[in-house]
């Protein structure tokens, strides 16, 4: 079985491009060009150069000794938190801004939830001198003030999404509407492995540098290129896609996808899409989707704004349906405790998204000699306020 996209843009039965005709020329232009552009030697050279000198790659693969002792297994942290702007998101925005330039686009739009992708997009737009408009739910603007300020400092215009539930899904709707209205000069930098084909595949390829590095770094540490387990949190699924990418076809590698259970999978306040979702269409992709029986998209909940998405990328829907990846749901409390534990044991303050991945160690036992790689997708600076409130710090 293949876990990669097929020539029609599907992962198994998931994916495709369910877009209004108004978007067809934009998406088709991208579809026809993305692989060609990504394979051009000077594109690769520029991408790799920026990842190295600007982002700070390769990010370390750090053996977490005290955490490993506590859970009696070998835990490595892939330190995406050390990237410029503090998360894996910038791997994708660097790739897409170079793509946009190759396609002759002069105006960039993006959606953002917590603001991490918005900041990463505003950053690369500043770097390239391109106009940047970021759509962000009105509610998220209020609860993520520091990231709003960052985007503004970087020269971006932040436009509140006031429709629907006024969060990430609505910000994405607004970005898509903007793209409909600006079909010629604008590129939409989507922030995860979601949206119509070819976005999930393109974003996964830009993020695949993560597992490429894991392989060579493990070789140094452990004299093997393959871990036994790779753990990553899943919002839309981009950090997971990057961490899994080069291991997808090696069934010896156990892939663990961690979703946000919010207050509990059955609490009515959750974002565990694989459990709560059914096949449906969101933002142009056929995938697992949280929705009513009548097909209206419902609002997810998680303490972590980055995992608060009612769908999941089509690659992950396929990994779930095919049984290739193991899906685990982690509650707000479990994630927060795991985050605090990493601070105490390793001196690293993780993003709350990443804390969900770390919480797996309380739920599942690994063999003492197992090599377990955790995608530490981001740093916790943006989440201080939430940590402060949660722990009464």
């Amino acid at each position: 079985m293949s876990y990669n996209v097929n020539e029609k843009g599907y992962y198994g039965e998931f994916g495709g491009a369910f877009i209004p005709e108004m978007l067809y020329p934009n998406v088709e232009e991208l579809r026809q060009n993305y692989l060609k552009v990504m394979n051009e030697p000077d594109f690769k050279a520029e991408f790799n150069q920026l990842l190295k000198d600007y982002v700070g790659r390769p990010s370390p693969l750090y053996f977490a000794k005290r955490l490993s002792e506590k859970y009696n297994t070998k835990i490595y942290l892939k330190r995406e938190d050390l990237n410029h702007t503090g998360a894996h998101k910038i791997n994708n925005t660097i790739g897409q801004i170079l793509m946009a330039k190759r396609l002759g686009k002069t105006r960039i739009i993006a959606e953002t939830g917590a603001g991490q992708h918005g900041v990463a997009t505003a950053t690369v737009c500043a770097l390239m001198g391109l106009e940047c408009i970021v759509y962000m739910g009105e509610i998220d603007i209020a609860r993520q003030a520091p990231n709003v300020a960052r985007m503004k400092m970087l020269g971006a215009t932040v436009v509140p999404a006031t429709s629907g539930s006024k969060t990430l899904k609505d910000a994405t709707n607004e970005a898509i509407r903007d793209w409909i209205s600006n079909p010629v000069n604008t590129h939409y930098i989507i922030g995860s492995v979601v949206g119509p084909h070819p976005y999930p595949d393109m974003v996964a390829r830009f993020q695949s540098v993560v597992s490429e590095e894991i392989k060579s770094q493990l070789k140094t540490h452990e004299d093997t290129e393959t871990p036994d387990h790779v753990i990553a949190c899943v919002g839309g699924g981009s950090n997971a896609a990057g961490a899994y990418y080069h291991f997808l076809d090696d069934e010896n590698v156990n892939l663990i996808a961690v979703e946000a259970a919010g207050h509990g999978v059955n609490s009515g306040e959750s974002a565990a899409t694989s459990v709560l979702g059914k096949m449906g269409i969101i933002h142009g992709s056929k995938t697992l989707l949280m929705q009513t029986n009548d097909g209206q998209i419902t609002e997810p909940y998680s303490i972590s704004a980055g995992l608060d998405y009612p769908g999941v990328g089509p690659m992950h829907a396929h990994l779930y349906a095919s049984g290739r990846a193991e899906f685990i749901a982690i509650t707000d409390d479990q994630a927060m405790n795991a985050g605090l534990e990493l601070c105490k044991l390793e001196g690293i303050i993780p993003a709350i998204e990443s804390s969900h991945a770390l919480a797996v160690f309380e739920q599942k036992t690994f063999k003492p000699d197992a090599i377990v790689v955790v995608s530490l997708s981001g740093r916790g600076d943006k989440d201080l306020e939430t940590y402060i409130k949660h722990f009464n710090l």
Partner: protein, 255 residues
């Protein structure tokens, strides 16, 4: 056999089609709105099945959809409201909605139900023509439904020809690159585009949508096209004046 849409398209006149969101302003206005539109001289009606995330729609239709859902509109409720509609209404009726609610209802069930009620066609903005052609065309045709596709000023001639070949009613010509209700009025750019499409001599007539709000824009839009669709302007009228003044609104366009 021709259905009501195809018959209507053969009439020697410019056609006015009206879009409204089912369940808005009030849940049970659907039938009254349809009857009033027919009695006022409207040629065709697009009944909007509201969706939580209407990507191709601007603020007016978004707001009416949100309100309709709050009012309790669902696919099942709409079908119930429409079950006797053919006892009183004879003009073509089209359901316009996004694909996900239809997918959840079951595409075949949805088509079957439309056929039983006397719905003549569907407009599904996020069901791409190639997916329709490969997976659903046979089902739609089995139930005698006309599926209507959109084209825009950016659609290539080659793709327009392809869409024309798959269509069996009319082509929905989106007037400019925008969501619904964003712009009103037409400039040379749009008029040239309408003419360019007209000059392609397609098998399916074109009906213009997006940006038509009054008698002037209706006349402009139909200079080179078979008809025009009014949506957001009608919703705004309902919002401001309620459903009792529908005849006045229609008269102001086609008196």
């Amino acid at each position: 056999m021709m259905n009501r849409i195809q018959h209507k398209l053969n009439e020697d006149k410019k056609l006015l089609s009206i879009y409204f969101t089912a369940g808005y302003p009030s849940l049970n206005d659907t039938v009254s709105i349809i009857e009033s539109l027919e009695n006022s001289g409207v040629d065709m009606i697009e009944i909007g099945l509201p969706f939580s995330d209407p990507l191709a729609d601007g603020p007016t239709i978004q707001a009416s959809s949100t309100q309709a859902l709050k009012n309790g509109m669902t696919t099942e409720v709409l079908f119930n409201q429409l079950k006797d509609i053919r006892k009183t209404v004879s003009i073509p009726l089209i359901i316009m909605g996004y694909f996900n609610p239809m997918l959840q209802y079951g595409v075949e069930n949805f088509c079957k139900k439309c056929h039983e009620i006397g719905i003549d066609g569907l407009i599904i903005p996020d069901l791409p023509v190639d997916v329709y052609h490969e997976e659903y065309q046979a089902t739609f045709e089995k139930y005698g439904l006309t599926n209507v596709f959109l084209i825009t000023p950016q659609t290539s001639d080659e793709r327009i020809r392809y869409i024309d070949s798959v269509s069996n009613g009319f082509i929905y010509m989106v007037s400019s690159a925008s969501t619904t209700g964003a712009k009103t009025g037409f400039g040379d750019e749009q008029l040239n585009y309408f003419k360019r499409i007209n000059d392609m001599v397609l098998k399916n007539p074109q009906i213009v949508g997006f940006g038509i709000s009054n008698s002037e824009t209706f006349t402009q839009a139909t200079t080179y096209a078979k008809g025009a669709i009014i949506g957001s302007a009608f919703i705004k009228h309902l919002n401001q004046n309620g459903i009792s003044t529908i005849p006045n609104f229609i008269k102001s366009i086609i008196s």
